[in-house]
């Protein structure tokens, strides 16, 4: 009995010892990571405390103990609001479109750009395509509305010049076009930027593989299919999973700036709704409830995506 206890004791002790030894050995590494752990804690974990607001009738200026607690009231109001479902539909529709095109097009672009032999042309194209990333949405929205205008807009002029339409078409006034316009302008803005990571991954592939493929008689497309794409598959997966995590948090700048009263039923997104009905009206609790909903959905999506990929490809980001 005694010996067993002693053994257990020494085992525990030795485990502790080993842990401290470990820490001691790698103390520099620990010290170096400390600021970043603190940073994550302060900026990503501490704010979660603010979630308590969603269960109160929060009034600024009062201390935490003076707030009135209301339980799930704000969530009930939220889920009973028709507008919320409309907004949720718009958010998901635009994010899925964004994911579908905004994710595949940069890959295709990166692969095609990689095949370009002329290095000067390649570099210029790359720079030109990622520059729009730095243009603010305010400016992009201005350009898009101007281009789609019925009053001398270049798209309408072009379509009329080609004889495809007889009179200018009101792109911006059609509800059904709004999601498309947002997606296309987003692709224009972000395609080059998002392609950078794929270009980098492609650059890291072993040239010997291509040479071997050539010897075996593989053409350009065969090389892309059998070497380039499998080579960057891990990168693609990681980026995809991270994107899925952000699916519901698509921001609101583009929707707010491109929308107008006629298309608002297809333009309002969750973040904008939270802004208008939460912070905008001083309903901080309601806004927080929307925020919590957002975060929870994001986390679920992220785990789902990661789980699926783990299962089929044995790769994961977590």
């Amino acid at each position: 009995m005694e010996t067993a206890k002693e053994k257990a004791h020494t085992r525990g002790e030795s485990r502790m010892n080993r842990f401290w030894k470990h820490v001691k050995n790698q103390k520099l590494l620990y010290a170096m990571s400390l600021p970043f752990v603190a940073w994550v804690f302060v900026f990503n974990y501490l704010p979660v405390w603010g979630w308590t607001m969603a269960f109160q009738n929060f009034r600024p200026g009062l201390s935490f103990l003076e707030q009135e607690w209301v339980g799930l009231e704000h969530f009930i109001t939220l889920f009973q609001d028709e507008r919320f479902y409309m907004v949720l539909r718009n958010t998901l529709a635009m994010s899925f479109l964004g994911l579908l095109f905004g994710f595949t097009i940069p890959i295709i672009f990166a692969v095609l750009l990689n095949e370009v032999r002329h290095s000067m042309f390649k570099r210029i194209t790359q720079t030109v395509t990622y520059l729009p990333h730095f243009v603010s949405w305010v400016v992009v929205a201005g350009i898009v509305t101007k281009m789609l205008s019925t009053d001398g807009g270049i798209i309408n002029d072009l379509l009329m010049g080609l004889g495809i339409i007889d009179s200018p078409y009101q792109f911006m006034a059609q509800e059904k076009w709004f999601w498309g316009i947002v997606t296309i302008s987003d692709i224009w803005k972000e395609m080059g930027w998002n392609a950078i990571i794929f270009l980098a991954a492609i650059a890291g592939l072993d040239p010997q593989l291509y040479e071997a493929a050539k010897v075996d008689g593989a053409g350009r497309f065969r090389q892309i299919w059998h070497i380039t794409l499998p080579g960057i598959r891990p990168t693609i997966l990681v980026v995809l999973i991270l994107n899925i995590g952000h699916l519901i948090q698509i921001g609101f700048e583009k929707q707010m700036l491109l929308s107008n009263p006629l298309v608002v039923d297809y333009a309002e997104v969750l973040d904008l709704y939270a802004l208008n009905y939460g912070i905008g009206l001083g309903q901080f609790s309601y806004g927080t409830a929307i925020g919590i909903f957002n975060s929870v959905v994001s986390i679920i999506l992220l785990f789902l995506a990661n789980g699926i990929f783990k299962r089929y490809s044995n790769q994961s980001v977590m």
Binding site: Q170, A173, V264, G280
Partner: protein, 571 residues
């Protein structure tokens, strides 16, 4: 040994960090100490009647944009203000009326020293503002003089008679140019032989006749009528036309019955349907710009500046940029005159109805302001006679001269004022500083019997273009306002302007208003753009959507707010 050395180094570094941190701390303390000392010496200095001119910087948040602001107040007027008061303002100007920034301030609990808001409900609720009443009574003779009895209107509520917001509106303003109306190009009126323009039907006939004569202007298609509907502007121009065309003053989204103070969401007045039906007809006949509800503000300005928009409806301030551009381009015949058009001759335009002292929107001192006395003295300085004159006329000898005891602006200075877009920016004159405190409106006289503002009738006439004079003469007028009923024709609104009344934050009314506005912004344009046969059904749908969000409850609550205000102010 090696470890020992490292340890020594480590301890040394940590020690050094502590020393640095410690020094900073004591520095701060030291500066704080001197700060309070300065304050006390300040106060004693003020007591002995010598101005405490210790330089001080006030941070400020303003809900409106100001493209004319120059950093560090580096303009002739700005430098003079700084010299007189020792105050430097560090303002932040917002582009959307503080709708997002103010709630964020409240959420974070950190405020600038001074806040110019459009409705301070949330700020007051959060205890962010200090009571100005004792400060005004003790330190601000000029403000007292300017506000007079109107100061009662600034009191917050029955329960809390503090003054949190000092109005920044013009006092007793009798604007030389009308605030709202239908704007029509001079060329149109002239060519059609100066037809009568009193009702919306007249307006439609004029547009349609001229457009037929000139399907194109300068090689581009003629636009009959367009409006600026970008973001909040849709309310100020298009949606407000509902009541403006049917004989009511501006009370925001509500119509207030002058007898019973009963509030109605103004679209629910049956008569307004006819106004929006008129737009529908206009659209059906191809006279309404198809881009009216899609364009951004800059597109609208560009269209006006191109000279091919025959008419527009809206407030005067939306015309500035277009008119200015036309004048600069020499297209004076394409500039606009403003007419008090209404639905029928049974109604008159209420632009000039006085709302009394405008309360609700204005400047506040936050609880984070370290020296509120200094701040109120600064505001009082802005309200003094000399400063008011300087903000309107500029610096004597530089921007105006005194001839025979009268202020006169030399012709070359006038030319600069009229054509130099950067005039206000270069001089600091005008709304640049006037926006931070109450100010005397057009037509108010100073101690020497001259107007505070430069907008006198004579000067307004002097600044007209040739064609403008011609058109006005054809209608037997000197100024556009001559066609408008004057302030004397209407009683003063006992509730002020309803949109100025702060709605309690976090209330149902606030949510209902937001919902109603969301519905309105979507449905009214839809009704205008639909086929005439469909108009009734879209309008009915609009009405029933409003009922479905329980708009009656909002109207009831709003009525109570109005009644409370009337009671509070009449005491």
């Amino acid at each position: 040994m090696a470890i020992g050395k490292k340890l020594v180094k480590f301890v040394f570094i940590i020690g050094l960090l502590f020393v640095i941190a410690g020094c900073q701390g004591s520095d701060e303390e030291a500066s704080n100490d001197t700060g309070t000392e300065q304050e006390t010496t300040d106060n004693s200095a003020e007591n002995t009647e010598t101005d405490g001119l210790e330089p001080v910087t006030f941070t400020l948040f303003d809900s409106d944009t100001n493209p004319d602001w120059v950093d560090d107040m580096d303009t002739p007027v700005g430098r003079k203000i700084k010299e007189d008061t020792g105050v430097t303002l560090e303002p932040e100007f917002d582009i959307e009326g503080g709708q997002t920034k103010i709630p964020l301030m409240v959420a974070s609990g950190e405020y600038p020293d001074l806040i110019v808001s459009k409705g301070a409900g949330q700020l007051v609720d959060a205890g962010a503002l200090i009571d100005l009443l004792p400060l005004i009574e003790e330190h601000a003779p000029n403000l007292q003089k300017m506000l007079g009895d109107g100061i009662n209107r600034l009191k917050w509520s029955e329960d809390d008679p503090s003054i949190y917001v000092l109005t920044t509106a013009a006092i007793d303003n009798q604007a030389m140019s009308p605030g709202y109306g239908a704007w029509v190009q001079h060329a149109v009126m002239k060519e059609l032989g100066y037809p009568e323009l009193r009702t919306l039907d007249d307006l439609k006939n004029i547009i349609s006749e001229y457009k037929e004569l000139h399907p194109q202007i300068d090689g581009q298609e003629t636009i009959g009528l367009t409006m600026n509907t970008d973001s909040w502007r849709i309310q100020a121009s298009f949606l407000n036309s509902g009541f403006m065309m049917t004989g009511a003053g501006d009370d925001g989204e509500y119509y207030i019955d002058p007898e019973t103070y009963e509030a109605t969401l103004h679209y629910r007045r049956p008569i307004e349907k006819e106004v929006f039906q008129w737009y529908n007809d206009l659209n059906n006949e191809g006279l309404l710009d198809p881009e009216t509800f899609v364009q951004k503000s800059d597109q609208y300005d560009a269209k006006l500046a191109s000279g091919r928009v025959l008419a527009t409806i809206g407030p005067d301030y939306m015309m500035n940029s277009g008119q200015e551009a036309l004048r600069e381009a020499g297209l004076t015949d394409r500039m606009y005159g403003v007419y008090p058009v209404t639905l029928s001759e049974d109604y008159v335009n209420h632009s000039y109805q006085s709302i009394g002292l405008q309360a609700g929107w204005g400047i506040s001192i936050s609880k984070d302001c370290e020296d509120p006395v200094r701040a109120i003295k600064f505001l009082d300085y802005l309200a003094s006679e000399e400063t008011q004159i300087m903000m309107n006329w500029g610096i004597e000898g530089e921007h105006y001269d005194i001839v025979d005891g009268k202020r006169v602006i030399p012709q070359d200075e006038w030319d600069k004022r009229n054509s130099d877009k950067d005039y206000l920016k270069n001089t600091g004159i005008g709304y640049n500083f006037a926006r931070f405190a109450p100010r005397y409106g057009d037509g108010v006289l100073d101690s020497t019997g001259q107007t505070y503002t430069v907008n006198t009738r004579e000067i307004a006439i002097q600044n007209q273009t040739e064609i403008e004079k011609e058109v006005l003469a054809a209608y037997d007028m000197e100024l556009w306002k001559d066609a408008y009923p004057t302030a004397d024709d209407f009683p003063v609104k006992p509730w002020g302007a309803a949109y100025n009344i702060s709605i309690p934050a976090n209330s149902d009314l606030q949510v209902l208003n937001q919902r109603a506005l969301d519905i309105t912004k979507k449905m009214v344009p839809e009704a205008v753009l639909t086929t005439p046969a469909n108009f009734d059904s879209v309008w009915d749908e609009f009405m029933s959507s409003l009922e479905s969000i329980n708009i009656e409850k909002a109207e009831e609550e709003y009525t109570n707010l109005i009644k409370e205000k009337v009671e509070l102010w009449s005491n």
